[in-house]
């Protein structure tokens, strides 16, 4: 009997789930509902709209052909505000309902708003949606200086985009840049490059209060210093968009809780992507991993299981690639803490680090070293045995490729 | 060597092998493929020289055995080509299965057999044992007794083989050494004349990628029988066809050999000699000598040995009171010669019941002398008077 799969959200997890459902089953109905009034896009592309590397006509991930080919309908500009898991219905803002046989919550994430006095009046500007981005671009006209609050990856992507577009950029970090991914030493290389291209850093500071004054924005920092700029963009991370689940029986923590099959506590209700809080690959600890590779993996698993298969996730792994001004950083997995065999080398302008637990690679970091990030991801996700650790550290690109090839060929004798 | 081919009719002194080679070249074959074997090798050497000088424009294939040679001819003829090979004795035996195949699949191949004794004993000399072994191969056999006749027979052979009503391969035979290495004057006609007599070969159907035909399927009994029947009809037709062709040949080239048999002084003969091949020439001398002594003796030379010219032979022997058959071969199992067996079979039912004497001689390269033949004539003449006679005499032994 053909099932009706309803997907809340139209982001990467939603698209991956749709593809997978269709791959498994050709008869089921798929319906996607999104609160945004546009075809699916990725938030990762937004900085490049700001730097004008791409324009809005070229960013949609799925057009009408895709939906037709997938046999999936999409309803735009419809916000889901409630779920009736007893009657298996979703409830829209306008009161209308829609039924489902299986439901996928892929509502993604929303920016975290910092507790700054005066922010409401000045106006909180994040950069997570297309609307946000259009807003920023509009506000950037005839402006010269931008302040970015937050020093995570999204913030730095936007910073690089702004610098590329010719704006002056201040970056205010509550501790320092990329704290979650790089230690202080390698992080300095990155900030050094950004500084070279015109960014100014204010580390270890918070914004306490903001005011609009004579068309510019004044900021008072935690150390008492004052900064001014034309625009303040807050990129302090994202949190799962679960507001609409508040009066439902879906179990949530910071995000929707799922098991390894992406099932929530409620039968026939799944969740995938940024909205999910699930166990990680290494320690089986709950956490949120709001990155695109994760959304794809979880979307596929959820989609497969919704269509009747039984596949399990291995657990999320943190990873990211940041390309800016011809430089590249790559970080994946665990940091080199105690108990792990860590190989680390900081050159004057580059950095590499490998982290091992016994014979398995559990983490890696590279700054301006020529490697293939996906191959290291392959080694970690596949738990490939690496006996030649020093060799891999010494020539990471070639040896990682060799390890991958050997594993692909199945000749690795354990 | 080749100038005889570039100018109008010329007389050249050639041996039997060279005569054959000249004739083959004038017939413009498409594929020539032969394996050297004594005493045929001069044919090959001559043809290759012609090829090297650009006179013979054929594909020359140097195969690794006679079996393959006849196989190559099979392929080329199936595809529609005019072909040629030459061999004898061991080579003939080796290619035997391909020969039967080419005959029964009705390919107009022409071959020269330079008759040689079959081993054992290892004689490498003149002998007819090889061509007698070949009786059952389904080929048309023409035997020559002079270099000119060799030359002419090759051209006639192509015409006969390629006739759409016949389409049976022809072997032109002559005695090894006695003819192959014997030099005689041979008149060589011009290419234009040969072209006039022998048009390009047309073969249909032929093996061609465009036709998608299967050649050589398995046949069920009814079709197979019909197949054999048709072959027999065509073979039989070769007799009269040869006569017709030779008439045309005579008109154009001014030479003839009598068709299926050559008769020499048989019109009023009481005693008839029968012979095959070069010894017939010797026999004619003996016949003349005996005629001078008053014996009315004549000679029938069998020219077309297969199909056997039964009607012409019976006709030629009509006045004969006794027949002396000269055999340069033996018919294993009948303790006599092959020509005798053929004659016996031909005469049965003709009402003719006269003494038939067999003279086996000239085996393993020994000469057949005028004296021997004179003795044969005498013995036959004695038998004609009604005296009891020995059927088979081995002239070299007895």
């Amino acid at each position: 009997m053909a099932k009706k799969h309803l997907i809340i959200g139209s982001g990467i997890a939603a698209l991956s789930a749709t593809r997978m459902i269709r791959k498994v089953n050709t008869d089921d109905e798929i319906k996607m509902v999104t609160m945004e009034d546009c075809l699916p896009y990725s938030p990762a592309v937004l900085p490049y709209l700001i730097s004008k590397r791409i324009d809005e006509n070229n960013i949609s991930l799925a057009d009408e052909n895709f939906f037709e080919k997938m046999g999936c309908s999409i309803e735009k500009a419809r916000e889901v505000v409630h779920l009736r898991t007893d009657t298996k219905e979703i409830v829209y803002r306008d009161g209308e309902r829609d039924s489902y046989d299986t439901l996928l919550i892929a509502s993604g994430s929303e920016p975290m708003k910092p507790p700054i006095q005066g922010l409401e009046e000045v106006g909180f500007i994040g950069c997570h949606t297309l609307a946000d981005c259009r807003n920023i671009i509009q506000k950037l006209e005839n402006k010269k200086k931008v302040t970015l609050y937050g020093a995570g990856l999204v913030s730095l992507e936007i910073a690089a985009a702004l610098l590329e577009a010719g704006y002056g950029v201040d970056i205010i970090a509550r501790s320092r840049i990329l704290r979650r991914y790089f230690e202080e030493e390698p992080a300095k290389i990155i900030s050094g490059i950004l500084r070279y291209h015109g960014a100014e850093f204010y580390n270890g500071k918070e914004i306490i209060e903001v005011n609009r004054e004579n068309g510019s924005i004044k900021m008072e920092l935690s150390d008492g210093s004052l900064l001014a700029s034309d625009l303040l963009i807050c990129c302090l991370g994202v949190k799962p968009r679960i507001g609409f689940l508040v009066d439902t029986n879906i179990k949530v923590n910071d995000g929707v809780l799922v098991d390894r099959n992406m099932r929530t506590n409620v039968p026939d209700v799944y969740a995938a992507g940024d909205v999910v809080e699930s166990t990680d690959y290494f320690f089986n600890q709950l956490g949120i991993n709001a990155i695109a590779p994760n959304a794809i993996t979880q979307g596929r698993i959820a989609g497969a299981n919704m269509a009747g298969e039984n596949v399990a996730d291995r657990g999320w792994i943190s990873m990211n690639v940041f390309k800016f001004f011809g430089h590249t950083t790559f970080s994946i997995g665990l940091p080199g803490t105690e108990g792990f065999y860590t190989l680390r080398k900081r050159g004057p302008e580059d950095f590499k680090e490998l982290v091992f637990k016994d014979d398995k690679l559990v983490g890696a970091r590279f700054i301006d070293i020529e490697i293939d990030p996906g191959v290291f991801r392959y080694l970690i996700e596949g738990a490939i045995d690496v006996e030649q650790k020093e060799m891999l550290f010494d020539r990471p690109r070639e040896v990682s490729l060799w390890l991958m090839m050997e594993n692909e060929r199945g000749t690795r004798i354990k | 060597m080749n100038d005889g081919l570039k100018s109008p009719s010329k007389i050249k002194v050639l041996d039997g092998n060279r005569a054959a080679a000249h004739a083959v070249t004038l017939c413009k074959p498409d594929v020539v493929c032969a394996y050297p074997i004594t005493p045929q090798t001069d044919i090959l050497e001559t043809l290759y020289t012609f090829h090297a000088e650009g006179v013979l424009k054929a594909e020359m294939v140097e195969v690794e055995s006679e079996h393959s040679a006849m196989g190559v001819l099979r392929g080329a003829a199936l595809a529609g080509g005019r072909t040629f090979t030459a061999t004898n004795s061991q080579g003939l035996a080796l290619m035997y299965e391909n020969c039967i195949y080419n005959a029964t699949v009705r390919l107009p191949v022409v071959m020269v057999n330079v008759c040689r004794e079959m081993a054992a004993p290892h004689a490498v000399t003149a002998g007819e044992q090889d061509i007698m072994m070949f009786k059952e191969a389904g080929w048309i056999q023409i035997h020559a007794r002079s270099c000119q006749e060799i030359f002419d027979s090759v051209i006639i052979a192509y015409k006969l083989a390629e006739d759409p009503e016949i389409r049976i391969p022809v072997v032109v035979c002559y005695d090894g050494y006695f003819l192959s290495h014997q030099w005689e004057p041979v008149e060589i006609p011009s290419q234009e004349k040969v072209d006039q007599f022998l048009p390009p070969m047309k073969m249909s159907p032929s093996v061609d990628p465009e036709t998608a035909l299967t050649f050589g399927p398995f046949l069920p009994p009814d079709l197979g029988t019909e197949y054999r029947y048709k072959q027999c009809i065509a073979t039989e037709m070769a007799k009269t066809k040869l006569e017709e062709i030779e008439k045309d040949f005579q008109e154009l080239f001014g030479r003839g050999y009598g068709g299926q048999i050559e008769e020499y002084r048989t019109e009023d003969a009481d005693i008839i000699l029968m012979a095959l091949g070069s010894c017939a020439g010797t026999a004619m001398v003996a016949v003349d000598k005996k005629r001078e002594e008053g014996i009315k003796v004549g000679l029938v030379r069998v020219r077309m040995f297969r199909p056997f010219p039964r009607e012409r032979v019976v006709e030629a022997l009509k006045n004969g009171k006794a027949v002396g058959v000269i055999d340069r071969n033996v018919c294993f199992g009948w303790n006599c010669g092959n020509l005798l067996m053929e004659l016996k079979a031909a005469l049965y039912g003709s009402g003719k019941n006269v003494p038939l004497l067999n003279f086996i001689c000239g085996l393993c390269g020994s000469d057949i002398t005028i004296e021997q033949i004179e003795k044969a004539i005498d013995m036959t003449a004695t038998a004609a008077k009604g005296t009891p006679y020995k059927e088979v005499t081995w002239l070299d032994i007895e």
């Binding site: 990030p373 996906g374 199945g410 | -």
Partner: protein, 435 residues
């Protein structure tokens, strides 16, 4: 349907060579980073090349935030639309095969696009480490019209029949083909009966002994007439290895432009399983029975394809139907030879003759290769190389335990056969290392 892909072979390129990278960087009018890379890890004795594998379901395509990467449905090539690429590098995080490269000049990611079907790296590599595998052509053959007439007969599960059927599908794409056959198992299919042909091809049935001389005659006649024809023999080991070996050898030595495919079912199977010179040592046949006085074939078998290599002909190869693409690729090469004879030796397991179940021919065919009993190689103009090497050599016991003709083998015989397999493989391996 299949697409063209780059086939890469490991441990063939010399460690210091970078001809492919150089050619790749010059693939467009302006210099660019190469998208194929040579990797060399001498400590483990590995050197090979890495480039995009044109995945069927590309991970890079799915992760790209601006949908700049697409797989073209016609040629299967995964391309990056430069206008849409923002240079974020997320694709490099998704690709496990190292197929993506960052172009410093363009500040965008670039990848192999197969140079429009004529890869620069393939042309540049003199060692044969990279090749263009035109599987669309080969896979396409299999959906071609079947050229065998309906109702053709063969034993259930006959590998030779399947081989012949595949062969005809490929031959049907050529013009001017004439097929030759001779008495043997396949004659039953090929010869036709009465007025019904065996196949929709020009076919010449030959005697056991005159296949190659007949082919010579046909070839020479058409050559004389200035017309190109492609002559292909599909004949058994009885003909090739024994009765007609002389004529094959002669034709090969003369350089006749013919293609010979020998289906080797290791015995005279058509006449009821008698031994031939390719029957392996110890195998049971009716003329090499197992009893008190003797146990199977007393003699070792002869390696016909290697003998053909010694004839110095342009192309010799071994193949078997479990590796159908490999066979059809080799047959294509054989068909394209214009300057001499080509020879392919097909191992064709015979269920009745080898004493196996009717559905086991493919499995046995595969095992023959996986055990190195029948290695897959080709020799082009004297240079021999393997076209497939099993990653792990399975013991020959796996191959023979499925076959009744070896049922009398005990430890000793199995070990002897294993030794023989190993030493033959070593011999071929040594030949493959000659420059």
């Amino acid at each position: 349907m299949g697409y063209d892909v780059l086939e890469r072979r490991e441990n063939i390129c010399p460690p210091g060579c970078s001809l492919c990278e150089e050619a790749c960087s010059k693939r467009t009018a302006k210099m660019d980073s190469p998208v194929i890379r040579h990797i060399n890890v001498p400590e483990v004795g590995y050197h090979g090349v890495v480039t995009c594998t044109q995945c069927g379901e590309p991970e890079c395509m799915e992760i790209c935030p601006s949908r700049a990467i697409l797989k073209n449905a016609d040629d299967g090539v995964v391309r990056i639309d430069e206008d849409r690429c923002v240079g974020c590098g997320m694709c490099t995080l998704a690709c496990p095969y190292g197929g993506l490269t960052y172009s410093v000049e363009r500040r965008k990611t670039i990848k192999c696009d197969m140079c429009g079907g004529d890869p620069a790296c393939v042309k540049a590599c003199p060692y044969g480490a990279i090749d263009l595998l035109q599987s669309k052509k080969i896979k396409g053959y299999l959906s071609n019209q079947d050229f065998l007439s309906p109702g053709t007969r063969a034993c259930p599960g006959c590998a030779a029949e399947l081989s012949y059927r595949s062969t005809l599908k490929l031959l049907g794409t050529y013009k001017d083909v004439i097929v030759f056959g001779c008495p043997g198992c396949m004659t039953i299919l090929m010869n036709g009966f009465g007025t019904m042909p065996g196949s929709r091809a020009t076919y010449v049935s030959c005697l056991f002994t005159n296949v190659f001389s007949s082919m010579t005659g046909v070839y020479r006649y058409y050559r004389h007439k200035g017309r190109k024809v492609k002559l292909v023999a599909f004949v058994g080991d009885g003909c090739v290895s024994d009765v007609s070996f002389q004529t094959l050898s002669g034709a090969a030595e003369r350089g006749e432009n013919i293609v010979t495919v020998c289906y080797d079912n290791e015995g005279y199977q058509n006449t009821g399983n008698q031994r031939s010179s390719t029957t392996p040592q110890g195998a049971r046949t009716y003329t090499s029975p197992v009893g008190i006085t003797r146990k199977g074939k007393q003699q070792n078998s002869k390696d016909v394809p290697l003998i053909m290599v010694s004839h110095n002909i342009p192309y010799v190869a071994t193949a078997t139907i479990a590796y159908q693409e490999d066979y059809l690729k080799k047959l294509t090469k054989a068909m394209n030879v214009e300057n001499g004879t080509s020879y392919i030796h097909l191992l064709a397991p015979c269920p009745p003759g080898w004493g196996t179940s009717g559905d086991s021919a493919i499995e046995i065919s595969r095992l023959s290769v996986e055990t190195n009993y029948f290695p897959l190689w080709e020799c082009e103009d004297g240079k021999l190389r393997f076209t497939y090497e099993p990653p792990v050599q399975k013991p020959v016991k796996e191959f023979i335990k499925l076959q009744g003709r070896f049922s009398h083998f005990r430890e000793k015989e199995i070990e002897e056969l294993q030794q023989s397999v190993n030493s033959r493989f070593k011999h071929i391996k040594a030949l493959s290392t000659l420059g």
